[in-house]
Amino acid sequence: MRKVFSRPVSLKDVPFHYCPGCNHGIAHRLIAEVIDELNIQDNTIGVAPVGCSVFTMDYFDIDMFQASHGRAPAVATGIKRVLPDRVVFTYQGDGDLAAIGTGEFVHAAARGENITLIFINNAVYGMTGGQMAPTTLIGQKTKTSPQGRKHEVNGYPIKVCEMLPPLEGTAYVARVAVHKPKSIIQAKKAIKKAFEVQIKGLGFSLVEVLSACPTNWGLSPIEAVTWLEENMIPYYPLGEFKTPTAGVI
């Protein structure tokens, strides 16, 4: 018998601090598997900003930077400009990337910065206790939208993948989900493609990962993945929004 599924070596053998059923762990594993498969563990540098995602700095067995809230793409830019032959990625939540860090990710994309952003969208601020995020859906109840998000008060959720393709610097933009095995397989393909785009020097890549946060959604883990399927995917459709010129990859 042969091992067909085991822990990737780029992921340290330590328990995650995440809540039961939190999809962060799945996203971490996929990134680590891609790093293993591309054989880039020693050449990859990750950037973990503020939020639940900050602890990725302890989980990945690669060199890591911890960055301030929203600024990971700027930090990654500094790293990549110094070390252009390294693979540099950020791992950012929706509050981090799509609220406080809006300037940094848009300009990194516009510059065609040759880095990869893994953008975890779970429609809520996790670490601080379940406040409304820029990606919280209309009607979704959070600690700071207890009656449900109202567009009259809070505006509309930001669709990051739809925003980016017109920027010429973006090479690869995709939205995936990690709530069921079929989606997880697609998610890994997209993450791998994004890293390959960077390795080939084609420009900015971003993979948005729809992810369940059972604790802050007030649902059981099983209810949460169903809620993601029924509510998030209709608003945030999955797929590739921009790919490099055909045949390059």
Binding site: M1, F5, R7, C19, P20, G21, R29, I184, I185, I222
Partner: protein
């Protein structure tokens, strides 16, 4: 022929693995682990095909899968 192993001490009892097994083999144990959760387990291992869907959805990398792989 497959063998799946659970690192029960790492399991947080989220039950996601129980929803994806095509043969409904994954069940929650009656035991409680050190973290206070009922960990996932498989009772009828002989029926497992080693498809690894349970491992794929596990957020805590609790599950390792081995199976017979045909020589290519």
């Amino acid at each position: 022929m497959a063998l799946i192993t659970f690192r029960e001490e790492r399991c947080k009892g989220c039950r996601l693995c129980t929803t994806v097994c095509p043969k409904n083999l994954v069940v929650m144990s009656g035991q409680i682990n050190d973290m206070g959760y009922h960990p996932a387990s498989v009772l009828e291992m002989e029926k497992c095909t080693g498809c690894a869907l349970c491992a794929m959805i596990c957020p805590d990398l609790v599950i390792e899968v081995q199976r017979e792989v045909k020589a290519v």
